[in-house]
Amino acid sequence: MSLKPLIQKIPRWMLLYYTLFALWVGTTAMHIPDGYLSPVTCIVMFVLALPFWVRGVQKLREKMSAKNIPIVALFAAFSFVVMMFNVPLPGGTTAHAVGGALAAIILGPEIATIAISIALVIQAFFFGDGGILAIGANCFNMAIVLPYVSYAIYQAISKHVALNSKRWIVGAAVGGWAGLTIASFFAAVEFGIQPLLWHTADGTPLYAPYPLSVSIPAMVIPHALIASVIEALVTALVVAYLMRVNQPALEIVNKTQITPETTSFVRWRALWVGLAALIVITPIGLLAPGTAWGEWGAEELTARGLSFVPKGFQQLSGLWSAPMPDYNVPALGNANIGYILSAVVGILIIIGVAWLFSMLITSSKNKSSEISTSK
């Protein structure tokens, strides 16, 4: 089937709407400001992110020899500055990249989590980019999902390959693309569950107003087509450049792994990467045949065939409202999404609790209360 008649069938207001939404997504990306997510979501996301921060800090401490502190600090600063670079695109346009995949490739995902989180915290506190209550959510998407996914893919593609192989570049590009796309999916889910869960008695959504059926395509499609491509481009170009002139930079991650605890580290890393990949892949696999998007489009079209626009509006509105607490939203396949979502949340909470327990049991040795900002 050719694409053109399909596009023509889409109502014009919908095209306009998605253009505006894509514009918004393309410009503010995943820096979720305060006010979009309910406080409960913010807290849940914070709790979900916590074990990864603990892991990152632990990694820092155990690998430390204190020498990693300046590396992480400088890398966080580097990520911040590199985000300011305008990447020239065809047609005279420019765009910014995240650099999260690059951080993961050079530092490894655990420490990249800390470096990116720090860049995010500085942005939120100091430049008003992204909310403060939403720091948990933003860090989860951009400092955890992005580096872990990118790194897993990069590793899978470039492992056991000579340092001058093209596969390093390919791995970097694919990793960057997939990492950011999947991160945008997570952000879309966070947005999309807001109107389902939090609204006033008369159905007015209290926070982000769009349901999953809108937020997922509106976030993921523009990211997959634009932002993730930019991320892939930048990651690949910089890795290619480093391969030519600064290969030691690409080996930092391997070097720091040579610690007395190599075995346990490798075991843990494999577990975390595996888990992250599993969690990430599960909903995608189920979503693909889940026809949430297509089903909705078809119904919308029949509705449009039967009546004129205002009624179409109402029909659509009927589809979209129905905010049931048990995710049981008719015709959207949201029951599916809700299911997967709770599965993901469940898994992550279990991991979090298990992790906190092991923390309680094993640690409390490294408690120095003094803090400082001086070097």
């Binding site: 995943m30 300046p70 600090a73």
Partner: protein, 281 residues
């Protein structure tokens, strides 16, 4: 980490260098301005930073929890009043919040006006209907984002970065992280200057139009070089730390003390937060 796809105003081929220079300088300017205000005399500047961190987070929660627009609006006016007594130029404060930051929130809120189901508020030509529910949703979003951003901006403008960091200690942020945060912030400025110099020197040597591929190579080479410089710098910084007696445990010099003024402020702000959460139910 934001990525923005902005259409270029001119088709000039070396535009990306200029745009990057503009972005870098704006960031530097912004942080210098914030630092300047945080050193002036004012109400918020006098309050203990630990109290400010907690109060800001609680206020953000109050804004976030409210189910009533009036409560959020009242909190916004509190923010305005605080700005007025804390040497923050009001015009700048309002502009910064309402023009720059949630500008795109307007775009996201707009379609909600039409597609949220509910009783009709306004019928426009072409069968477009603004629903009451839609208008409420859009207002909620705009007001909530604007007010939250206002409190965050107030906090940042009234607190020197060093004190923000120290105050994070009481939020149980680990010392390693606080140390890294402090160093990152410091080196962001150095790296911004370095990047600025790199782009300026490059720009001064460009004679002809560059092709897109050349531009991208240039961008990648600059990023890669900056990365190399950062790594080199990090080992120098480490040596510097070691030479000054760093042994893996950061230490801090001054501690904060709560004065009567801080207790009064704590009392007032707790009252405001309690009232707004109560009325916002």
């Amino acid at each position: 980490m934001s990525q923005s796809a902005q259409p270029s105003r001119s088709r000039s081929r070396s535009g990306f260098i200029e745009r990057t220079l503009v972005d870098i300088n704006k960031t530097l300017e912004q942080s210098i301005f914030a630092e300047k205000i945080s050193r002036q005399k004012g109400l918020l500047q006098a309050v203990d930073p630990r109290l400010k961190v907690i109060a800001m987070i609680m206020l953000l929660f109050a804004v976030s929890l409210s189910h009533h627009l009036t409560v959020i609006a009242a909190l916004y006016f509190c923010a305005l009043a605080l700005a007025a007594v804390s040497a923050v130029p009001l015009g700048f404060f309002i502009k910064r919040v309402w023009v720059f930051i949630p500008f795109f929130t307007g775009i996201i809120a707009l379609p909600a006006l039409f597609i949220t189901p509910g009783p009709t508020l306004l019928s426009l030509p072409l069968g477009i209907v603004i629903t009451r529910t839609g208008a409420m949703t859009a207002l909620f979003l705009l007001l909530r984002v604007g007010t939250s951003v206002s409190f965050a901006v107030l906090f940042v403008l009234s607190t020197p970065w060093n004190n923000v960091l120290k105050a994070m200690g009481i939020l149980r942020v680990p010392d390693v992280v606080v140390l890294v945060l402090g160093m990152s912030y410091r080196y962001i400025h150095l790296l911004l200057h370095i990047a600025n110099d790199m782009f300026l020197s490059r720009k001064s040597r460009i004679l002809r139009r560059m092709s897109g591929a050349e531009e991208r190579r240039l961008m990648a080479a600059t990023s890669g070089t900056l990365l190399g410089k950062s790594l080199q710098l990090s080992s120098e910084v480490y040596l510097a730390m070691e030479s000054r007696g760093y042994r893996g445990y950061p230490r801090t010099m001054d501690r904060f003390r709560m004065y009567w003024f801080d207790w009064v402020a704590a009392l007032v702000v707790s009252f405001v937060i309690a009232v707004s959460i109560w009325f916002g139910r």
